[in-house]
Symmetry: C2
Subunit: 296 residues, 2 copies
């Protein structure tokens, strides 16, 4: 089977998994349930749950304990988009060609739906405690997920990012912090929880976390590159938007040449780490490659 | 020691506990950390962590495993207030005589600080997994906390409440749902997790959950009564606000007489349950009494 066909299968698998975990739309709180489901089902590459599941498989994981965690990380990713789109944040009416959650349900329900998704993520992951009570790895994975999603991870990066708007050119240190936190942290959470739940050793966990961080950073730099080099047709959104918004990017700070070199180097480092493992998951390697060598 | 002195001691204890768990204000994400701490330290009766800890003590709990959970529930309560105060929600500039979080830090940071507090609540509770890896009760308590805070608890109630504004008179059934979810669920979470972490049996857990639900409902009805019968001086906020805002309350639906009777009956039922237990915590009983027989 070629990679694209396999990827489609994984996305369909993840979609089916999400459907099983999404709430039923009934009761006096029905509106927020509809808004949650609308937000989750509005599309997306399901990258984080797939990365989690494939890292779990890399380390020989075969059980279903990964499922509530895979659903949870997509719920966390979705909540962050719902709140990012709010009028007081990026004020976006459309995402992936569809109306954003607050544009459909109003701002109050937009806020509540984001809150509900974040809370439901942990409620969902907590189902793993029912599946395997007393499994210490589940507790550890839980801690990692919560940590990487919060102030020392994604929310920390979002805050620094929000504060940087209109604040002039960022330092390389601050830009790296934002990329590492805002994008990198959830990719680290995905791959590290997958490794933990599969019972990977501590050294392997450290290696995976590092590789995931490099992939996350390379992914974000690739984003900056595409914003300069792609076309509206390929990217599906206007190019040159970073420049227009006077946003500091890896390209604006270091130039195109160095940005490409850095992305390639980070990707190479990550793959070298993964290749040094005694276990392999060719689909995961191919997926990581596709994230960096993408055109959109 | 009299009850008021004892209560002051418990509040000081909880305050000290919270201080230990709050994040240090440093790094590129400093603003959101400041906003979180500002929100938590803006005051409050610390009712939920105290209820949790006292229920834990009622069932003979003496360890520190309760601490991350006690901090977590106050973080959840605080996030709900921060988001409730946002312009798109209740649009409040002041709470307990202090500027609300978004009024100080702006709307974007207000949203992010609420998100950060909710996430940090679970990050904090997850510290219990490090304290006692493989303790299945910790996983169970975690599930209860997440469930009662979410769409089948507090957020569910908030949504139904937001949607009811300007929607005419509510049915008794819907009003009960909102009270049970918006106010009751976190009180249930507090007392039930306390019982679970102390190792209470299943029948005792069910009894505590029921009593907590009755207390929560009585507490909310008492709120309605005070809005009609108190004075600005005693209550610290304008009375008659429910009537002015054409809000359906227990009093507007059933009349003052029946409201008082109902609150008394619910409180009596809850106390009867607690008195039937072979264990007693006189401070907890006194605290519950003070919630219903309060004047503000």
């Amino acid at each position: 089977m070629d990679f694209q066909t396999e990827l489609k299968g994984r996305i369909a698998e993840t979609q089916e998994l999400l459907m099983r975990y999404l709430p039923e739309e009934k009761g006096y709180q029905k509106t927020v349930l509809e808004a949650m489901n609308y937000s989750v089902l509005a599309g997306g590459k399901r990258l984080r749950p797939i990365l989690m599941t494939e890292t779990y498989r890399l380390f020989g994981g075969t059980g279903r304990i990964i499922e509530p965690f895979a659903a949870a990380i997509e719920l966390i990713h979705t909540y962050s988009l719902v709140h990012d789109d709010l009028p007081a944040m990026d004020n976006d009416e459309y995402r992936r060609g569809k109306k954003t959650t607050h544009a459909v349900y109003g701002e109050a329900v937009g806020i509540l739906a984001g809150d509900a998704l974040l809370n439901y993520a942990y409620e969902t992951a907590a189902k793993a405690f029912i599946m395997e009570p007393g499994n210490a790895d589940v507790g550890r994975a839980f801690g990692v997920l919560a940590n990487k999603a919060g102030i020392y991870g994604m929310v920390g990066g979002q805050t620094a990012d929000v504060e940087s708007e209109g604040a002039g050119t960022l330092s390389a240190d601050k830009l790296t912090f934002i990329y590492r936190m805002k994008t990198g942290a959830l990719i680290e959470a995905a791959m590290l929880t997958g490794a933990i739940l599969a019972g990977a050793g501590e050294a392997e966990q450290a290696l995976i976390e590092q590789a995931a961080g490099e992939i996350g950073m390379a992914f974000q730099i690739q984003d900056d590159i595409l914003d300069m080099t792609s076309t509206l047709e390929v990217l599906g959104k206007p190019i040159g938007s970073d420049q227009k918004n006077e946003k500091t990017t890896y390209v604006s700070l270091f130039g195109m040449e160095q940005a490409k070199e850095k992305a390639g180097q980070l990707f190479g480092d990550a793959m070298e780490r993964l290749n040094a493992l005694p276990v392999q998951n060719p689909f995961l390697s191919e997926l990581l490659r596709s994230l960096i060598h993408r055109e959109k």
